[in-house]
Amino acid sequence: MVAVVEAEPSRAEIDLIFHALADATRRDILARVIERERSVSALAGAYRMSLPAVQKHVAVLERAGLVGKERIGREQRVHAEPVRIRQARELLDRFEQLWRHRVAAMDALLAEEQAPPEKE
């Protein structure tokens, strides 16, 4: 058994996650490996990109913890790291909660103003 530590990412880790996701090719690589594990050479073929260029992108995703890599024979295989991907989403999900709170407060305030005051 492997213990999965789901601690909140540190600020430095968050930087790495956002940096990794700021590039269209890396997002696409991530989408592909979420679907299923892929070899680095298969990814290179998909983008008509040199192997080192794809390796560079994979390394950025790997530093952010979004993907993992393992060597099987002569092949390097890339797989998604779902815990980390979820954490990136959670950042924006938390901001969504703030806005839901604001909208509910605005809505309640309007309702309160609408209600006739009991006493002047």
Partner: protein
């Protein structure tokens, strides 16, 4: 529920919230134009806001602070960029010191609000754009850890009104 839709864009660090309110455009506008109304919904859960200075006119600076659960008072500043009353406004938002001087290191986020009259009320699109993920993170660190429990306490009276109206 008044929130109709939430769109998140991880790449551009923007979030768009679309909500609908059962009030006309002028009343919804007043929730942002009037500092006493604004401070009743702007602060994150557990961090009620107090606006020391606020006027929704182009070029104006708003200065506010929030009071946290431990008594801490982080300050914030708005610079009003665009106002097209009662249709839209754009403000830049940043953390600030007690004098209202922006913390340039953290950078600015921008909020655009667009109000549209619809049948029976007003639809509002709020688009927030963050300059950096640190900025997003810091904002989330403030208050959001407290969760919704505090939010419920903070706006308990308001929510009671809301549920009574349903």
């Amino acid at each position: 529920m008044p929130v109709l839709d939430v769109e998140k864009d991880l790449d551009n660090l923007t979030m768009t919230v679309t909500a609908e309110f059962a009030a006309d455009v002028e009343r919804v506008w007043a929730l942002y134009a009037d500092p006493r109304r604004l401070e009743r919904h702007w602060g994150p859960p557990g961090y009620p806001a107090t606006f020391i200075q606020h006027e929704l006119v182009p070029g104006a600076r708003s200065h506010y602070y929030m009071t946290g659960p431990a008594g801490e008072q982080p300050h914030g500043i708005w610079i009003v960029r665009e106002v097209d009353e009662p249709r839209s406004f754009v403000v830049d938002d940043a953390f600030a010191d007690e004098q209202g001087e922006p913390n340039e290191e953290m950078g600015w986020s921008q909020m655009r609000a667009e109000l549209t009259p619809v049948d029976g009320g007003t639809r509002v699109r709020f688009v927030t754009t963050f300059a950096s993920r640190e900025q997003l993170q810091q904002m989330l660190d403030m208050g959001m850890e407290q969760g919704l429990t505090l939010a419920m306490n903070q706006i308990d009276g308001l929510l009671a009104e809301e549920s009574a109206a349903v």
